[in-house]
Symmetry: C2
Subunit: 533 residues, 2 copies
């Protein structure tokens, strides 16, 4: 057995059978090893950022890692942005990077580069496989590192000679540690803090935005009147009618500060103490008010569900139950199907009106998505996946990976036009694999968020400024991108909507039909100069 | 003056006025600074790999650096592959990467990552700007580092607070050192080696594949009978009728070894001793025969033109001049316009028949481009730009940058379909800027080079292998990519050719009209299983 075969066999034993791949010559023996494994599934990606983003989407939804297959330093580079997002999502992910043969590296051939250094910027674990004898163990260690709570990007660098050399064998899976228990004393201290009846909130993040942790958090909120907040960009938020209503922290620091204003206690569960997304001149980056005490209950790798359940058990049962419990649960409610102008707001209403039960929503709608959370709060239960690391170009790959993880669930990808253009190649993977993804491109023909930030950061402009650079760099209308042709060019059926009625009808149709569809929704930009349509 | 303004003003003083940009919030003040500079030109790119590849193309043709404008670690990551190619091309390039404000970095906000580590993998020079007081000097040092012979990627990391803080001022350009002189003794030793009349070749690389160095090398070849070789992937090779005929070293080691076989002297001029592109089992990576002595004449940063001129002056004038000189010069010759099936060979014949004088050819045609060099050897003089670092996805951005550097020259981009899909967004930049680029996508619907390497690396397959992974990962035909729609979706007029006649007519038309055009040339793959069309 050669090293590549040992890696594939070991990963299979560890539950990793899916490869989002963009291989090159140095990964040839890994492809051959996949050819020999009847359980392995290789999903082709036309660009590495698609492979890494899809592995992120898969890991978030499947709860176990997919593998990537990347070609040397440049392939890793192309996948780096979405690995960054996966790192911020704490997604379990086995990142396989092929390298030159060991003897070839000192020759500094054209594709030689420092893979280890680049991998270190996005990985929680990096190992270079030293020889076929350890290939199986290295793969097993990579899978274990990827899945150890809370999950991480584990990069295994595989030199080509390790892949092709005999003398390897599979290794057994390593035991996977459970999430760390939270000490009783920590829980008791938080219970005491909450009994004080000061204004309090619980900030949920990581694994606490879903499942039993989320429901236990709702019990705590109901018992104490504490508000339920979550991170600005949760990896996967369970929400919808009948589920705990969780308020996402705002993106702009002034918004987040308003949400946190008046709080005296902030309980952190799987989340870190919140900071501003970007810095602004003379604005503090820490968002928690000075007179608010922060109580870390559970870190991202801790057993948040058990800690919150224990905490809820320590608190008195809600009396009267009704008021507080009702406040913590989203009521079933859908907006009316919208009519008239197509805008971010009417797009959101149509999504709220039509979102199917069990949908996976991938939200990279940016400024055009401002109205989505309220419009969908009372829709049937669904998962909401967001841009955890701020590296745009995540949405389409993430949707592809989520659809592969959950073939029986509809995926709705709400994607800003500027962001879509980073990893548009994901559409081809959706077509190739026949994935049930409805892609809505919110085409405002602008980097509208940058228009907003420009006004905030450069409020006093010199009238002598020619303004050409801003116009040239933030405006996507010259020429307009035609997403219908772009989608059709990659084998995805597509249509364009310019009114709310058209969009609602198109969305209903796309959601009803299996396989991928794209709708270009022409919406006006929220910020920036008004342009002729 | 704030730090951003100081950087822009300093770079302008250093001759850097062009920015290939994909900015984000942390680069807002740089955009505002460009708005204030009447000389600055900002070229928008929808993806950072377009920005870095275009800056490479600009630098190769203009001989002076363009700047990029990238957004934090993920933006740098997206640009890393083409920076890798630029590094291998020794292209002068000022790589500007915005970062969080200094005070914000310890907060580990979502977009925080180790920019310095990633930048180190592709840069010959990296500096993090410490404050507005040094911003001008840092920019001046970056420009000087980028342009010092032979040229390099100089990365300047600009924290947002440095950009927005006052107290900065422009710095004067630093003196640019000339290429280092080669010691007389080195030249004399090479002259003595060549006088021995043993079989010899001169391997040209870097700056020696063009201009006076190339012509002086031809004089040496004519005087001694030494063959003129060049690197497999030259950054910029001047060639065509009347210019020195240079044989490119083959991509596969067996081909290169055959070219080097029998040589007893190899003179290196701007090139390193050749090594195999990839390693293969039990195949040495060093390509020079054991009994061939290698003589480094000039390194990439040395004055190759002066050294070769000096060398030629030391050698006897050619007697008889005619035979040897004729052998070293390409004769004017064009293939007939082709007819019949459209293949890599007939595409090459059409290109050879029609290539305009002064054209810039960007060659990322990979296996489909096998016939291009012979078919164009006798075409009117032109420049040939290649994939220096092996990171595919370079061609389209490189063509955009070359077209901006040389607005009066036609650019022909010969692009493999698989490679095109990495940075297809470059088409939009071509449309936005109205660049005179003719893009030919050689659509063989396959990663054909990987099919070839698979046969070489895994010759003995087990009949039990299901072969699904190879089929799924190397075949681009399910669904077929429609490059006409993809181009039109980004505002570039496009057509598709399926016969040699159609292609020749379409190419003539596209070359005659200004502005960008794309032709999808449907060619059969050179390697891999035969598929239904």
């Amino acid at each position: 057995m050669n090293g590549a075969e040992a890696v594939v066999a070991t990963l299979r034993a560890c539950g990793v059978e899916l490869y989002f791949a963009n291989p090159g010559t140095s990964e040839t023996h890994l492809v051959a090893a996949l050819d020999r494994d009847p359980a392995a599934r290789a999903v082709p990606c036309l660009f590495e950022g698609v492979a890494t983003g899809a592995a992120d989407g898969y890991g978030r939804m499947a709860g176990r890692p997919a593998a990537t297959l990347l070609h040397l330093g440049p392939g890793l580079g192309n996948g780096l942005a979405n690995l960054h997002n996966a790192r911020r999502a704490a997604t379990p992910l086995v990142n396989l990077v092929g390298d030159h043969a060991t003897s070839h590296k000192p020759l500094d051939a054209p594709l030689e580069s420092d893979i280890d250094a680049a991998a270190g910027t996005v990985s929680g674990w990096v190992r270079r496989c030293a020889g076929p004898a350890t290939a199986g163990r290295d793969a097993s260690a990579a899978a274990a590192a990827a899945t150890a709570p809370p999950g991480r990007v584990a990069t295994l660098i595989l030199p080509a000679d390790v892949s092709w050399s005999p003398g390897a064998g599979p290794a057994p899976p390593l035991p996977s540690p459970p999430p760390a228990p939270v000490p009783d004393g920590t829980v008791a201290a938080v219970a005491a803090a909450l009994r004080g009846a000061e204004p309090a909130a619980i900030l949920l993040g990581g694994p606490a935005t879903r499942g039993p942790a989320l429901r236990a958090a709702a019990r705590v909120a109901a018992a104490t009147g504490a508000r339920l907040l979550c991170e600005t960009f949760p990896a996967r938020l369970e929400r919808g009618a009948g589920l705990p209503a969780v308020e996402r922290l705002g993106y702009l620091p002034e918004g987040a500060r308003a949400q946190l204003g008046g709080l005296r206690r902030l309980i952190l569960v799987g989340a870190r103490s919140p900071v501003s997304f970007f810095a602004y001149p003379e604005t503090p980056g820490l968002l928690v008010p000075d007179d608010c005490r922060v109580h870390p209950l559970a870190g991202p790798g801790d057993n948040a569900a058990a800690a919150l359940t224990h905490l809820a058990d320590l608190l008195p049962r809600t009396t009267p139950a009704t008021a507080a419990t009702a406040a913590a649960t989203a009521a079933r409610a859908r907006p009316e199907p919208p009519a008239g102008e197509l805008t971010g707001e009417t797009v959101a209403a149509a999504v709220g009106a039509l979102l199917p039960e069990g949908a996976i929503v991938v939200d990279e709608a940016n400024t055009s998505g401002l109205w989505l959370p309220p419009a969908t709060a009372g829709a049937p239960p669904h998962d909401w996946l967001t841009l955890t690391g701020g590296a745009i170009g995540q949405g389409l790959p993430l949707a592809a990976g989520a659809a592969i993880a959950c073939p029986d669930r509809p995926v709705l990808c709400l994607e800003a036009d500027g962001s879509a253009m980073y990893t548009l190649q994901a559409l081809w993977t959706m077509a190739r694999e026949g994935l049930d993804v409805t892609v809505v491109v919110l085409a405002n023909r602008s980097y509208s968020v940058l228009e907003m930030e420009f006004e905030r950061l450069v409020p006093d402009r010199d009238p002598a400024d020619h303004g050409r650079a801003r116009r040239d760099l933030l405006d996507l209308s010259r020429p307009a991108l035609d997403f219908v042709r772009l989608a059709e060019g990659m084998g995805v059926p597509a249509s364009c909507a310019t009114t709310a009625e058209d969009f609602t009808a198109g969305l209903a149709e796309a959601l009803a039909e299996p396989g991928p569809h794209l709708i270009e929704a022409r919406v006006p930009p929220l910020f920036g100069p008004v342009r002729a349509p």
